[in-house]
């Protein structure tokens, strides 16, 4: 099962390697991991997408909680939540492809944020499925480069992850 784990961690050097080291040492999967400071600069928020049985996910949350610098851990995928990912795609855009890519980007509500004679950079946010679908809709031969941020997640409604 796929899970999205959010955590708050002290914003100290080495904090990220404690988390990533834990996953590799214990053989847990990381599908994606994002991290950045929160509005309180002394803390970072991390979103980790992982897969595993219920027992493994239970161990992952317990082991994360055990790290001295981890302040709070929540499996946000346990209840209603929102996931978003940012993707930038550089595509070859010449001739009739220019119009076609523009149309596809509009359909996906993506934005073109860089234009040259021969290329576009398309910016797209959404859940992983939407981003995958956009890639699927474009001729692979036209894709020069893609970069994805990994998933950010937040609980819906009253669910708040805060100290």
């Amino acid at each position: 099962m796929r899970h999205v784990i959010s955590l708050l961690i002290e914003n100290e050097s080495g904090a990220l390697s404690r988390v990533s080291g834990l996953f590799s040492a214990r053989g847990y999967n990381i599908e994606s991991l994002t991290v950045a400071p929160t509005e309180d600069f002394s803390m970072s928020r991390m979103t980790i997408v992982t897969t595993g049985s219920d027992e493994i996910i239970e161990q992952i949350t317990k082991q994360l909680n055990k790290l001295v610098e981890v302040v709070k851990v929540v499996d946000i995928s346990e209840a209603a939540h929102i996931e978003r990912e940012l993707m930038l795609v550089k595509v070859r855009a010449t001739g009739k492809d220019r119009e076609e890519i523009k149309r596809t980007a509009d359909i996906f509500r993506a934005r073109i944020i860089d234009v040259t004679d021969a290329s576009y950079v398309v910016e797209l946010t959404g859940n992983q499925g939407k981003l995958d679908a956009f890639i699927g809709a474009i001729d692979p031969a036209l894709i020069l480069e893609t970069v994805r941020s990994g998933v950010c997640g937040i609980g819906r409604g009253d669910r708040v992850l805060k100290v």
Partner: protein
């Protein structure tokens, strides 16, 4: 008061009432050693190898309830310390390790004697720090001791660059420390404890299984009281020996790979299992799938939530300090009317006595050749069963655990989790410094002892009259045993050739050395060591039966009920 970083470190050690620092100087810790030199409260024990410094500090901690402290230099000093740190981590021993680091500006420049100590030790410490500002030293030291001794204890490393130890700042030791990210639970959930007591009272085939957590939380007394109150059978793991008096009738011996038949059968066929400060590891329950085949309710008391439901599914988890939880259980039991079902308990004990009648610990003694079990039994007799026994890792470790009955906690020091050969003598050094009035013996083998034999020199310098009982079988005994049983008797590289004359080697270091070849001389040699040479280190080199194996045995991957009781079962 303005002090240098190095002076602050030593002040902090004084504040923490540290009596001994085990260590080895070097370039990056010169200021620290200079500060040590200029005071007389904290004493330094100069070892001959950094690994032994950490083991000795670890042994000091295991034999007391204090935090062990070691100090090493950067680079090779730190890497040599890693085995010691990992050993302490696996057994949750409270320790603070101070390591020197190259100056801040040189970090990352591949400087002389530079390694990423914080990176290397990260997976084998409870936590570690790199202190880049002299103003952070005092608070970091306070945090280090706090982290090491609270919650599930463990080693904490503080890495201090040379220039930081030289810089000066205003010093004040914080009285309190609070960390928003670290608040271990100590008091168990009272509702869960109530459920557990209920479950225990309804049990027909109860069993109590306890581990190192009981020793670490100083809970032997409430554990003994609770066990006697209930009248239930109990087993202590290798790390938990001494948690309950082994001479008591309710004690079934050690469980697991080399545990007793009765302990393993009772673990397996119990209907309610109370696990306290133990972690169901592979050497204790064998194959977890086989263990899960028999339905039973499990109550698990542990201070570390991640230990619960890690290898087996637990029905009633209780997160908290073992001592506090056991005391609460006793309170609830004593204030209630309910008592265990006497008929069911009598029937269960009858079954257990049948298992016990198999006498799985009986071995065939000999007049010709020294049997290792016999040496341990004699060691027990000569020391009145009240010495601190340290061991290395292998067959001798199992024999010591099986045949030296421990009635008190903190009397048995060994590397249970990591299984580190070479810990025995340093553990004995730390234990002897911490307990000068208690006899200390290191049970070892000719292979393990050679992994830290240089410490004979440290023992001479610091006059540590430990007794080394070398069960010398000229083999890496446990490797040889597995090769005999599971690898067609192909003894690949397990033969110990070109051994030194250990008695003369000990003499060369200025100690007493005695070689013992005949069973009839075992007791006399031991008595000589513990009486005539009470105040000297004695190296007893027992030439034991080369072919003796450790039984009973549960083969790796097998279940607890699939035991080999003796060579006849093969």
């Amino acid at each position: 008061m303005v002090l240098s970083g190095a002076e602050i470190v030593i002040r902090c050690l004084q504040e923490e009432k540290v009596e001994y620092v085990f260590g080895y100087p070097g370039g990056a810790v010169l200021f620290l050693y200079d500060a040590l030199f200029q005071q007389d409260k904290v004493r330094h024990v100069l070892v001959r190898h950094e690994q032994a410094a950490v083991h000795a500090a670890d042994g000091f901690a295991r034999s007391t309830e204090k935090v062990g402290v070691a100090m090493v230099t950067s680079g090779p000093g730190a890497t040599n310390a890693v085995t010691g740190i990992a050993t302490a981590y696996c057994d949750s021993i409270p320790m603070v390790i101070i390591s020197g680091q190259v100056p801040v500006a040189a970090i990352g420049q591949d400087a002389f004697q530079e390694v990423d100590t914080v990176g290397i030790t990260r997976p084998c410490v409870k936590h570690n720090f790199l202190v880049k500002d002299v103003r952070d030293i005092a608070a970091t030291m306070k945090k280090a001791f706090h982290l090491a001794r609270t919650g599930r204890p463990g080693p904490v490393l503080v890495d201090i660059p040379k220039d930081v130890s030289m810089q000066r700042c205003e010093y004040e030791y914080p009285k309190e420390i609070s960390m928003r990210s670290y608040n271990p639970v100590t008091k168990g959930h009272s509702g869960q404890i109530k459920k557990a007591v209920q479950l225990l009272l309804e049990a027909k085939r109860p069993m109590i299984y306890t581990g190192g957590g009981v020793v670490l939380s100083n809970a032997a007394e409430p554990l003994t009281k609770l066990t006697r109150l209930l009248g239930y059978p109990i087993t202590n793991t290798l790390m938990g020996l001494g948690g309950y008096p082994s001479s008591d009738r309710q004690f079934l011996g050690m469980p697991g790979m080399h545990g007793t038949f009765e302990a393993n059968m009772a673990m397996h066929y119990s209907d309610v299992l109370l696990a306290v400060g133990a972690r169901f590891d592979d050497r204790v329950i064998g194959n977890p799938a086989h263990f899960a085949e028999e339905p039973r309710k499990i109550i698990h008391v542990d201070i570390d939530p991640s230990s619960i439901s890690k290898r087996v599914r637990v029905d009633t988890p209780i997160v908290g300090d073992v001592k506090e939880v056991l005391e609460e259980m006793i309170r609830q039991l004593e204030s209630g009317e309910a008592r265990p079902n006497p008929e069911a308990l009598a029937a269960w004990w009858k079954q257990i006595e049948q298992w016990r009648d198999r006498k799985c610990m009986v071995y065939k003694n000999s007049d010709e050749i020294i049997k290792p079990q016999f040496v341990i039994q004699k060691l027990w007799e000569v020391t009145g069963g009240d010495a601190i026994i340290t061991s290395d890792v292998g067959q001798h470790q199992m024999w010591a655990a099986q045949y030296y009955g421990f009635d008190k906690p903190r009397r048995w020091l060994n590397s249970g989790g990591l299984g580190t050969m070479g810990v025995g003598m340093p553990y004995a050094m730390g234990a002897k410094l911490a307990n000068p009035d208690v006899p200390v013996a290191c049970v070892t083998g000719e292979a393990s002892i050679q992994m830290n034999i240089q410490e004979l020199s440290t023992c001479k310098q610091f006059r540590l009259p430990i007794k080394i009982c070398n069960l010398n079988n000229r083999y890496l005994g446990m490797v040889r045993q597995w090769q005999e049983l599971f690898h067609g008797g192909r003894y690949s590289e397990s033969y110990m050739d070109s051994l030194p004359d250990f008695a003369r080697l000990a003499e060369a270091y200025g100690h007493v050395g005695i070689r013992v070849d005949r069973p009839a001389d075992v007791e006399g040699a031991l008595r000589e060591a513990f009486t005539t040479h009470r105040n000297e280190l004695v190296f007893l080199d027992f030439q034991i039966d080369q072919t003796e194996n450790v039984y009973p045995m549960v083969q790796g991957g097998k279940g607890l009920t699939e035991m080999i009781l003796s060579a006849e079962d093969l």
